[in-house]
């Protein structure tokens, strides 16, 4: 087998592994970049998608819940600031979630906060600096003080929210995430979710996240607060602390 053949074979396998979803997050991101700029690679990817497409047809037909379309419709009517984040970014923070969750069961808020920060920083110390959040906020339930979510803010401006518990969202309602960095300006919506799940928060148009910045999750109508300010009950809230 010539080098050329070997190259085209490894290119083809790479395209196939990308299509299957087998690449690790950095390789996946690299493949995605090439897909946009490398016509040869894009052709390989398209060929693999076509080869595997008949398997999609073997999936069952599952009628969507009647609310699905209205959620989508609301989503495309909402201004970008309140929309869900771009996919793919969270993959890079997988490694942190285990430690955070382990910490979450610890109980008391002080202990928990300390544990999150220390376990977090122990683990992160071994990784690239980019993966280490500079601020962490543990959002706790107002009455019970039980932790409900963690917010991590990274040096490059990205902020993620990771729920630590199931949150019951009644029909027609949604979880809205807010942040307050300046009482003069008031709280700003940074995310809207139909159910508790890890998500990237949308803080791109806001000043950089800092110490003691308040984050809270409220229960709002499915399309988000009609007033642009929190209207529903506060489920969880907490402020950021600087990591070690």
């Amino acid at each position: 087998m010539s080098n050329l053949d070997r190259n085209s074979e490894s290119e083809r396998t790479l395209a196939a592994e990308y299509v299957l979803g087998l690449l690790d997050p950095p390789a996946h991101a690299e493949a995605e970049r090439r897909l946009a700029h490398d016509p040869h690679f894009a052709r390989e990817v398209e060929q693999w998608r076509t080869r595997f497409a008949p398997l999609d047809e073997t999936a069952d037909i599952v009628s969507p819940d009647a609310r699905l379309w209205s959620r989508i419709e609301n989503g495309i009517a909402t201004p970008p600031a309140a929309r869900d984040s771009e996919p793919g970014m969270l993959a890079r923070f997988w490694n942190s979630l285990g430690a955070l969750r382990a910490a979450s069961v610890a109980g008391a808020l002080a202990a928990l906060l300390l544990a999150v920060v220390s376990i977090g920083s122990l683990q992160y110390a071994r990784q690239e600096a980019i993966r280490k959040p500079i601020y962490v906020a543990v959002l706790v339930s107002d009455p019970s003080k039980e932790p409900g979510a963690v917010v991590n803010a990274f040096a490059d401006g990205r902020v993620e929210m990771i729920p630590l518990t199931e949150i019951n969202v009644p029909e027609g309602r949604a979880l809205e995430i807010w942040t307050l960095w300046d009482r003069q300006v008031g709280p700003r919506s940074v995310g809207l979710l139909q159910r508790a799940r890890a998500t990237q928060l949308n803080l791109e148009n806001l000043p950089r996240t800092g110490e003691n910045q308040l984050f809270e999750i409220t229960l709002e109508p499915a399309t988000g607060s009609p007033t642009g300010r929190p209207t529903g009950p506060v489920l969880f809230k907490g402020t950021t602390s600087r990591t070690l």
Partner: protein, 233 residues
């Protein structure tokens, strides 16, 4: 405590377990000679719909709808939804394995389609391929996020119960080149490739499922893909 999935996995002899057997015989044995019966649906609430062969006219329709989405026409997104959402949920459900998460994946996919419709270029590929790649990507992201949540306590770890590669293969039309070529593969390679595509398994999960080291799972998958490409051209 026994995970609920464990029980059905034991009953899966024709499926995962035979793929795990190390015997030389299974290496080259043609799958059609020992096809297991599939009397159990993975998701019993959901009815299997008849096969819907790919139709070039429908792809043109999707492609046109995407062009209208790029122009900001919301009704065009609804056209795509009406044509594909129910199949998309089926595709996502095989990956995330929970109805609510499957709908979440499809929801996210439609948001993505709406925002990136402009980047779809019909000269570079089929509309359906583009749409389903987005759905699978969203489902995989949700699956990996969910798995990561559960990965601290081993008790919590999802068992990935009763995932069956042969089920999906058996549903392919007899005449399909993909089916013919998959059936030519050594069963373990076929299982690796199909579980990755259909159920979104990672190399590590494939290794666990087939009870082989990670490197072996990777090389089986790769060789399976190379043979598949040679067979399908």
């Amino acid at each position: 405590m026994q995970a609920p999935g464990k029980k059905s996995l034991d009953g899966e002899a024709g499926c995962i377990q035979s793929a795990r057997l190390p015997g030389k015989g299974s290496e080259s044995k043609d799958f059609s000679g020992q096809r297991p019966k599939f009397d159990r649906e993975p998701f019993s609430r959901i009815k299997t719909a008849p096969m819907n062969p790919r139709d070039p006219a429908q792809d043109a329709q999707l492609s046109a709808a995407l062009a209208r989405c790029a122009g900001g026409e919301r009704a065009a997104l609804r056209v795509i939804y009406d044509l594909e959402a129910s199949r998309m949920i089926g595709v996502a459900l095989r990956i995330v394995r929970r109805r609510d998460l499957a709908e979440e994946a499809v929801h996210d996919a439609f948001m993505r389609v709406w925002r990136s419709a402009r980047s779809f270029d019909p000269a570079r590929g089929e509309a359906r391929n583009w749409l389903y790649a987005i759905v699978r990507n969203r489902a995989l992201t949700i699956l990996r996020d969910e798995n990561r949540f559960l990965s601290t306590d081993d008790d919590d770890k999802p068992d990935i119960p009763d995932l069956c590669a042969e089920d999906a293969v058996a549903r392919l039309p007899e005449a399909s080149a993909l089916r013919r070529c998959l059936e030519k593969l050594d069963m373990r390679r076929r299982t690796a490739v199909v579980l990755a595509y259909v159920h979104g398994l990672s190399h590590g999960e494939i290794a666990g499922k087939l009870a082989v080291p990670l490197g072996t799972a990777k090389s089986w998958t790769r060789r399976g893909l190379i043979s598949l490409q040679e067979c399908m051209g």
